[in-house]
């Protein structure tokens, strides 16, 4: 049996949960799939009712007052006991920030393999599954095998399966609500409410065209090169994370998993390598242009048009061509 752990907040599932169900359904052999969703009373049940639409064997809502809000200690304890009861061969998660926060602890406690950020699975000669994951910031790909006894824990990279690829059942899957085995007093983290920092002046998600700069720009003093292109294209200026970390542009102009998600008509990436955390924020753009001196930069994986070259030569030429 494959256990998929879905993620909800306030009864709303995230899209990545459906992606992970799609990943589980993609594993050959027709192994039954059980989906678990954790939370306080209400949230988990609401989410479970939605999950029942998926073509899976069963949905389990795991409830406990100490599971709302999320804490690493609470989720680890609840899943440790659920896994003990269900005895799955593998446990799949979406590779969200919440997963990153507690699943390594769960794996360490169970002393079972944990493969993270997996983008796909493939069968090997002996029938056992091989998992594909990026390494070295996406510059290389590895086929990896878990070692040691089951269950193996696997987290799937956001976007590696499409949420609408999750097959729906002809009738709703049975839903079961169980009380989590968990001692609230053992939870050490005391979380406050999540919040967003003060509302931002620029809403990049509304921009039609975006010129985005990465570490290839080298220094704040060179930002004018990118600004000139943005002006010529009537585009907003945005950036990868390191540019905002360095304070060269405000955080509100950061594109990616921890910044804004954008989908303009045109996205021009200047000196951006194309790390997955950047790609998830801009992959949905209509037309993507990448200018990068490294022909193997992962950004070219998602680009429609690419120029391999020095941005300090190409960008001024581009501004000139646009103004002609």
């Amino acid at each position: 049996m494959i256990l998929v752990v879905a993620e909800q907040r306030g009864g709303t599932l995230n899209r990545a949960s459906w992606e992970t169900i799609a990943a589980a359904q993609h594993i050959p052999g027709g192994v039954p799939i059980v989906v678990a969703v954790l939370g306080g009373s209400g949230g988990a049940t609401t989410a479970a009712a939605q999950l029942a639409a998926a073509a899976v064997h069963e949905v389990v809502a795991v409830e406990h007052p100490s599971l709302e809000p999320y804490t690493a200690d609470g989720f680890t304890a609840a899943l440790q006991s659920l896994i003990g009861q269900l005895n799955p061969t593998s446990v799949l998660f979406p590779h969200t920030y919440q997963t990153r926060d507690f699943v390594p602890k769960l794996a360490a406690r169970l002393d079972r393999a944990l493969l993270t950020d997996v983008t796909g699975t493939k069968p090997s000669d002996d029938g056992a599954l091989v998992f594909v994951r990026p390494m070295f910031q996406g510059k290389l790909t590895a086929d990896v095998r878990p070692q040691g006894p089951a269950p193996h824990l696997v987290t799937f990279q956001i976007g590696s399966y499409r949420p609408d690829a999750a097959a729906r059942g002809s009738s709703p899957a049975p839903v079961k609500t169980v009380a989590a085995t968990l001692d609230g007093a053992s939870v050490r983290q005391r979380p406050d409410q999540p919040y967003q920092e003060a509302r931002q002046a620029v809403d990049l998600s509304q921009a039609e065209r975006i010129v985005s700069v990465g570490r290839g720009i080298k220094g704040q003093e060179h930002l004018s090169v990118a600004q000139a292109l943005a002006d010529a294209l009537k585009a907003e200026l945005a950036a990868s994370r390191p540019i905002c970390d360095a304070g060269w542009l405000p955080m509100e102009r950061q594109v990616g998993s921890s910044g804004q998600t954008v989908a303009p008509k045109l996205y021009v990436a200047l000196g951006i390598s194309g790390a997955i955390q950047h790609l998830v924020g801009m992959k949905g753009s209509n037309v993507i242009v990448a200018i990068n001196k490294d022909p193997d930069a992962p950004i070219f994986e998602v680009a429609d048009y690419g120029i391999v070259g020095d941005l300090f030569e190409v960008v001024p030429a581009l501004v000139k061509a646009l103004n002609e």
């Binding site: 920030y97 990153r100 926060d101 390594p104 602890k105 794996a107 360490a108 406690r109 079972r112 393999a113 944990l114 090997s124 091989v130 390494m135 070295f136 510059k139 290389l140 790909t141 590895a142 086929d143 990896v144 095998r145 878990p146 070692q147 040691g148 983290q189 005391r190 979380p191 406050d192 919040y195 967003q196 294209l233 994370r241 390191p242 970390d245 998993s257 921890s258 008509k265 045109l266 037309v287 242009v289 490294d294 193997d296 992962p298 070219f300 994986e301 429609d304 048009y305 690419g306 120029i307 391999v308 070259g309 030569e313 190409v314 001024p316 030429a317 581009l318 000139k320 061509a321 646009l322």
Partner: protein
């Protein structure tokens, strides 16, 4: 406030990937190395906490002889001493092996805080800090953008997705995994570099009995999926062609 900082040495950012003949690991001899980026921020955060609350900062790294370099850099930037867990084969190690080694190295020292980066730029497990917390029996929190110490408690600002944040409090001792950009890095001064020469790097042996829970069957260049139209020619020619494509084919300008 006694703080351990876990520092990994990784290939430099502009390293061009090369795989070894067996296709199982990178060709180590082609590589130059540097400190894993978030670990540099973790060290900076530790130094700032020490300046505010007193105590000491100890840099720890697991790896072959060459990792002494990143430890020396940490000492030059202000760490008080360092622990080097000598370990020849990084490629055969996973987060369980490394966290096990780190746990053995720091367990007896009664640290109040252990800081790690949130993820390594090479293997990218995003696990080591959290596994270490479990091995030490410490509370933990991940992807941290601010740290406040309040006597026996630590309050941290966790980064969530899409520009959301959350404050979380927990008792010390704790493990925190630090996100890049939490602070602004200082650079080593000449004085720091000189002072580092007198600081201790204690070498300890890899503990026995740590087994990796994953194994690389094959390492290779990513397979291309999307066909990018690569525009060639001089910068001026390429620029002209691109503008034509954007105007006439894609119609986005």
């Amino acid at each position: 406030m006694n703080i351990a900082v876990c520092i990994k040495q990784v290939p430099t950012r502009d390293w061009q990937p090369r795989v070894n003949d067996g296709g199982t690991w990178i060709r180590d001899r082609d590589v130059t190395f540097e400190t894993n980026e978030p670990d540099a921020y973790a060290l900076e955060e530790a130094l700032r906490l020490k300046e505010k609350h007193g105590g000491s900062v100890v840099a720890c790294s697991v790896g072959p002889e060459r990792v002494a370099q990143v430890l020396r850099e940490a000492l030059a930037r202000g760490a008080d001493r360092a622990i080097h867990v000598e370990h020849a084969s990084v490629e055969a190690s996973d987060a369980f092996v490394i966290a096990g080694a780190l746990a053995a190295a720091v367990r007896d020292e009664r640290f109040d805080l252990v800081l790690t980066g949130l993820q390594s730029d090479d293997q990218g497990f995003a696990q080591t800090g959290v596994v270490l917390a479990e091995r030490l029996g410490f509370a933990h929190a991940t992807i941290i953008m601010e740290v406040q110490i309040e006597s026996s408690t630590v309050r941290v600002k966790r980064e969530l997705e899409g520009g959301w944040f959350q404050w979380v409090a927990m008792p010390l001792p704790a493990v925190l995994t630090i996100q890049s950009g939490i602070n602004h890095l200082r650079y080593a001064t000449l004085k720091g570099i000189m002072a580092a020469k007198k600081k201790e790097i204690r070498k300890v042996a890899m503990p026995a009995g740590l087994a990796a829970r994953q194994h690389i069957v094959r390492l290779y260049a990513p397979q291309k999926v999307k066909r990018t139209e690569l525009i060639t020619g001089s910068p001026a020619e390429a620029a002209k062609t691109l503008v034509t494509r954007l105007r006439e084919t894609a119609r986005v300008i």
